[in-house]
C-alpha cells in the first residue's frame, strides 16, 4: 500500500477532467442559452476543484487563493449572464 495519495489525486483529477469534457459537450450543444450558462457555471466549479487538488498535488498553499478567485469569477460571470438573459433580450 505504498503511495496511495498520488493515485487518489490522479483519480480525482481524471474524474474532474472527464466531468469537464462532458460539461463541454453540453456547453457546445445546449439547446438554449440557459443550458450553456449552466454548463459554464459547472465548468467554473470543476476548474476551481482542479486547482484545489493541484494544490494538494504540489503541497503548496498558493493554489487556494487561485481557487477562491476562480469561484468568485464564476459567480460574477454566471450571475451577469443570467441577468442578461432576464433583461437584455426583452428590453434592449
Amino acid at each position: 500500500m505504498n503511495a496511495l495519495l498520488p493515485w487518489a489525486i490522479f483519480f480525482a483529477l481524471f474524474c474532474y477532467l472527464l466531468a469537464m469534457a462532458l460539461t463541454l459537450v453540453r456547453l457546445l450543444s445546449g439547446p438554449s442559452a440557459q443550458d450553456r450558462i449552466l454548463a459554464l457555471d459547472y465548468l467554473y466549479l470543476t476548474g476551481m476543484l482542479v486547482i484545489l487538488v493541484m494544490g494538494l498535488r504540489y503541497a503548496s498553499d498558493m493554489y487556494l487563493e487561485a481557487a477562491l478567485v476562480i469561484a468568485l469569477f464564476g459567480f460574477v460571470s454566471s450571475s451577469a449572464l443570467a441577468k442578461f438573459l432576464l433583461r437584455g433580450e426583452v428590453i434592449e
Binding site: L45, T46, L49, L56
Partner: protein
C-alpha cells in the same frame, strides 16, 4: 517534497482519509456532469449541479484541510473559506438562472407555471414590460 515518503508509516490513516475524500469528490463531480449531460429538461438539469457545489466541494476542501494540517503539524483551515463562499454565491446564481429561464419560457409561450402574484418585478407578463 515527495508525498509518498512524507506520509509513510504512522500517517497511513491520514493518507487513507485524504484519498477517500478525494475519490469521493471526483465521483460526485463526475456524477453531476453526467446528470447535466443526460437529463431531459433544463429544470431537471439544474439539480445535479448542486452535487458538485455542495458535497463535492466539501469533501475536496476537507481533504485539503486534513492534508495541510498533517503536513504543517498545526490546524490549517483556510480551505473552509471556499464552501462558505459557495454557500453564499451559488443560490444567487441558481435563483437568477431559474427566474431567467421561467421568464424566457413564459415569453415563448411554453407550458410553465403562471406567476403567483401580480406586481412582482420578474413575474410580470412579458408584454407589459
Amino acid at each position: 517534497m515527495s508525498l509518498g515518503t512524507d506520509f509513510a508509516g504512522a500517517h497511513f490513516w491520514l493518507e487513507f482519509v485524504v484519498s477517500l475524500l478525494l475519490v469521493f469528490s471526483g465521483l460526485l463531480v463526475l456524477t453531476g456532469a453526467i446528470g447535466i449531460l443526460r437529463l431531459k429538461d433544463f429544470f431537471q438539469r439544474m439539480h445535479p449541479a448542486a452535487l458538485a457545489s455542495t458535497l463535492g466541494t466539501w469533501s475536496a476542501c476537507a481533504a485539503s484541510i486534513v492534508f495541510f494540517s498533517a503536513l504543517q503539524d498545526r490546524p490549517v483551515v483556510h480551505a473552509s473559506l471556499i464552501p462558505v463562499l459557495l454557500a453564499v454565491t451559488v443560490p444567487i446564481t441558481t435563483l437568477l438562472l431559474a427566474r431567467a429561464t421561467l421568464f424566457r419560457k413564459r415569453s415563448a409561450g411554453d407550458d410553465v407555471p403562471a406567476p403567483l402574484a401580480i406586481g412582482q418585478p420578474d413575474d410580470r407578463k412579458p408584454d407589459t414590460i
